[in-house]
């Protein structure tokens, strides 16, 4: 399981929600099968439905089996 907070801490170069979405996809590609929404990422571009967006990013990769 990967936590949102862990992704943010270990990637300080990420400064936007859009970049975080890419990190979430990378986590899925390297084999993570659960994503924990332990923290709301308060970037300037964080959308209101941020959980839906991250879940979609995560499952879009898992769904492809890659």
């Amino acid at each position: 399981m990967v936590q949102i907070s862990e992704l943010i801490i270990s990637h300080p170069e990420v400064t936007t929600f859009e970049e975080l979405e890419e990190l979430v996809k990378e986590a899925a590609r390297r084999g993570e099968i659960h994503l924990s929404f332990d923290l709301k990422p308060e970037y300037p571009d964080t959308p209101r439905r941020w959980q839906d967006r991250l879940e979609t990013a995560f499952t879009s990769v898992i769904g492809t089996g890659r």
């Binding site: 936590q3 907070s5 862990e6 300080p12 170069e13 400064t15 990422p41 308060e42 300037p44």
Partner: protein
Amino acid sequence: MCSMFNPLPGEGQADVTSPAAGPFSLKDDESYAVWRSAKLAGYPRAAGELRVPIRDLASPSPDELTALTTLCRRANMALYDSGPLGTDPVRTRPALRALAATLNLRQIEDHRSGAADGIVAIEVAGTGGRAGYIPYSNRPISWHTDGYYNYHGPSRCVQAMVLHCVRDAAQGGVNGLLDHDIAYIRLRDRDPAFIEALMHPEAMTIPPGEEAHGRYRPDNTGPVFFIDPVRNALIMRYTARKRNVSWRQDGTTRRALEALEEILENDPLIISYKMTPGEGIVCNNVLHNRSGFDNEGAPEGRLLYRVRYHDRLGS
């Protein structure tokens, strides 16, 4: 993803002291706020949360490795318990190197007290090159990060280390541990100017000195906080000692140091832990101290092994 670091004029290298963006930039409060929230949310509150049992020190399982790496991402450190193998002073040595290699730690620091395998034995030494240095006595050691006296930029500093307890002391020998990221957060929350002062390239100077074996060490000047632009990581170079250190002479630096001392005295996220035989810590050179100890009643005395690396954990 774009880099958040500016090159130094004319050198084509990243500036290790003043990133243009990201959580360690004083101009980017939004990124800092996100990173700060994540760091505090994920930070362990007790030693038990940092502890990972390892069945075979030389060859940790994938699950054990994942646990160690995850903790190092969250807190820049993890404690492990390797059981009886880790109490054997001979078999432990190659096992420690193997453990480190599985964590991608390979560039061992060349230390004057290191054996051929790069491992330094931390024990009371009455004679030889280690005698007379506080780490090799039973005296307390104040808060510090390792290698603060030997700064030559991020690529050659001590980024990570393994500290393993083969034998503990009869009494004392307790380590205080605090992730330097937390120290950064506490200081920045008090006053961002403290961070600016401690990121100054001339913040801290260790005066020249004669080393053991007659080698001369020139003075060593550098920042307290700096950035490794390759690994996107915050590194800290610090000693709380009062002698043989000189600080940049300005009021903000002085106040920052006073604030840091207060943090290291009281912070609720400081973890105190006495490692028992077979236990150890792997860390990204976090702030640590050691209480004095007494070997009376323990005939062989306290023995720890330490290996320091120029690589970083959890990257």
